[in-house]
């Protein structure tokens, strides 16, 4: 468990590496995040740090929110996020977390919200095969059978059907940092990440099974 950083997805482009290969990258503008609360086992029952990101006008927040941020002398910020930590005492209120926390070549996980696709059918949502489009067929994008007949006499829970697709939290694991620009608070990450440009993303060091 370690502290990550919150950021905004800006979009994708490509960069050439030393060997001349084109690498697809996603540009993220991340941080600076400000530590707004340090939670310890004694006071809160668990240990974590809470960080704020995304400056907004003062009128966008209500009094309790502003009061909470004022404790760490933080400007009005839209997003708060907690990172569970073993040892949160290394962090003080008002401390800034910047993109320098990451380095080129590091593996990271990116957590974001996928693009919402509304009410989607079987093919788009669950990759079902479709029926024949011609030769008199009227079964184009229908689901087929949803189960047996009189026994069990019901559709089993969890049967894949049409419904809302996207707009859910997605973690893309083990992405590589290609470049860190601390002047402009930018991180370039190899590959695609969830959401559209402008979406909030959470960049954390990769959690690898067997490592702490």
């Amino acid at each position: 468990m370690s502290v990550g950083i919150l950021g905004t997805k800006l979009g994708m482009t490509q960069v050439f590496d030393e060997t001349g290969k084109a690498i697809p990258v996603t540009v993220i503008q991340a941080g600076p995040c400000i530590v707004t609360q340090v939670k310890t086992i004694q006071t809160d029952g668990y240990s974590a740090v809470q960080v704020a990101y995304g400056e907004v006008k003062q009128k966008a927040l209500n009094k309790p929110e502003l009061g909470h941020l004022a404790k760490s002398n933080c400007a009005p910020m839209r997003h708060l996020h907690e990172y569970r930590l073993e040892n949160p005492s290394e962090f003080q209120l008002g401390q800034q977390i910047k993109v320098d926390a990451f380095s080129t070549g590091q593996t990271i996980d990116v957590i974001g919200t996928s693009i919402g696709r509304g009410f989607a059918g079987y093919q788009k949502r669950h990759n079902f095969k479709r029926g024949p489009m011609s030769h008199g067929s009227k079964n184009h994008r229908a689901p087929g059978s949803t189960g047996a007949g009189t026994t069990p006499g019901r559709v089993y829970p969890g049967k894949r059907m049409a419904g809302r697709l996207g707009g859910s939290q997605v973690t893309i694991r083990k992405l590589t940092v290609i470049r860190v620009d601390s002047e402009r608070n930018l991180i370039l990450i190899k590959g695609a990440i969830p959401g559209k440009p402008g979406a909030l993303v959470n960049v954390v060091p990769a959690t690898i099974v067997g490592h702490k």
Binding site: G11, F16, G20, A22, Q29
Partner: protein, 121 residues
């Protein structure tokens, strides 16, 4: 805070080449490709007709076609790649469309394009 496209364009601008000639579809070009050979670098020329231009910004590509030993060869070059040392326009050709894929179906004399002289080399 969000001027996403400006930031992305400035990242691309760092690697984009400014000394490239203006290339049109139908031109005959000579592309110098850097190749690694046993730890040594050398430039290999590749000459042919530009039959398509694709992409924009740093992702701009040229499809260059030539006939080598009776076999049509097409290579796609990302023109801003560091592997491309230089591009030289040898001849301006007259083309009435943006993609000259019809040249693939032609052989011999029929693949020639008329030269045009109103565009400087």
């Amino acid at each position: 805070m969000l001027h996403a496209q400006e930031i992305i364009r400035s990242i691309e601008a760092e690697q984009m080449k400014s000394d490239l000639p203006i290339i049109y579809v139908g031109d005959t070009v000579k592309v110098g490709v850097i190749i690694q050979e046993g730890g040594k670098e050398r430039t290999q020329p590749y000459e042919g007709v530009v039959i398509a231009k694709r992409g924009s910004g740093i992702n701009q590509n040229l499809t260059v076609r030539k006939v080598f030993q009776g076999i049509g060869v097409e290579r796609v070059f990302p023109i801003h790649s560091p592997q491309i040392e230089n591009i030289k326009v040898l001849r301006r050709g007259k083309a009435r469309r943006a993609k000259l894929y019809y040249l693939r179906d032609r052989i011999g004399k029929a693949t020639r394009l008329k030269q045009r002289f109103d565009r400087a080399l």
